[in-house]
Symmetry: C2
Amino acid sequence: MGLREQKKQATRAALSWSAIRLIVERGYDRVLTEDIANEAGVSPRTFNNYFSSKAEAVASRHLDRCLRVAEVLRARPADEPLWDAITEAVLSQFEPGPEVIEHPPLDREAWSAGLRLMVAVPALQAEFLRAAASAEIALAAAVAERTGTDPETDIYPKLVASAVLSASNVATQQFIGRNGQPVDVKQLHIDALRHLSTGLRPPD
Amino acid sequence: MGLREQKKQATRAALSWSAIRLIVERGYDRVLTEDIANEAGVSPRTFNNYFSSKAEAVASRHLDRCLRVAEVLRARPADEPLWDAITEAVLSQFEPGPEVIEHPPLDREAWSAGLRLMVAVPALQAEFLRAAASAEIALAAAVAERTGTDPETDIYPKLVASAVLSASNVATQQFIGRNGQPVDVKQLHIDALRHLSTGLRPPD
DNA sequence: GCAAAACCTGCGGGCCCCGCAAAGATGCGG
DNA sequence: CCGCATCTTTGCGGGGCCCGCAGGTTTTGC
């Protein structure tokens, strides 16, 4: 990868991270695209060369996470049962990355509250969902590769990808909603994926 | 319901329908909110009293459809097996309504092409997904009622609602993508839902 | 080194969306 | 039947978002 591409990725990440940080601190409509650009050290015009909207910048990190699930799934041993591999791939995204360890939120409570306000903004909800939907293709391809199905004509891989991502959404929302220690994000995901792989049978 | 409320619903429907028709004909960015308002016989300012964005107006019909699935599910006999009831509820939304019968598209081919362009607009994709997510709550409530689970604390009903809606998305996309007679929308949905209710087992 | 390609930036403008306050429509009780 | 309280519609104004375009600047491949 050339130097050019590296800088681009760095700028892109800086913009997305600045957007999230500022919006969690101040609220969505009190942050201008100009503020985000300044924070990342580029001109306002450049912001829109990287993202076609403020919302897309925020959702960009989410998109990356979803794409990494597909990547990890591909790297899992081929003889591992499908749903075990999927579960591991999904869980792998909840290990805190190096960036979060470097920049620990000073006030964890305030950050949490800001996050909750952020994910309540309609424009962002929509964009988060779209990000997941974009990753669906990559995830479906990984599933297809593993199950020997055709990602174009067969509906199965897309169905699995779509169900997994939406199950993850439900689990995450459950976690954010009850912002308590009583439940663990990972355990919520394990339960949700087990439901999926066992046919979503009603209790009784 | 008072006369006041009736008129509001009529205006809302007229705006949404005008938005869709104009955008399918001309393309998303060649339709101004002003055009939509004029078409529906209200002032431009009033448009934004009903919808907070152009995209939301378009997705409004989709939201209604999703909500009706929950409604139909509630009306199904209580002793019917869950997945049979869900399947019937979903399929019920593909019966052409009275409005479509009244206003048959003059050129079916052009309409199809316009539709395909429309659903490719990122802002609309996002808003369609958000509409489905909104309906998820109502659908989860209907599932909870039927299975005797708690829609607040238990993850099961939300999981089912979310999986059903995303499966429907996949089926619909499959249908739009291959715009051919070889496959039937209803059959695609039946297959997708059966996959869900049987644990998304990989073939073999 | 050097040309070609890619990128950043400022400018300009169209459009979207909202707050506000006045005018109009509607339903209710007397 | 009428006035009154309430909800709705509308015009105006403005802040902000996003994009096309064209210029200068940096990176790449040779």
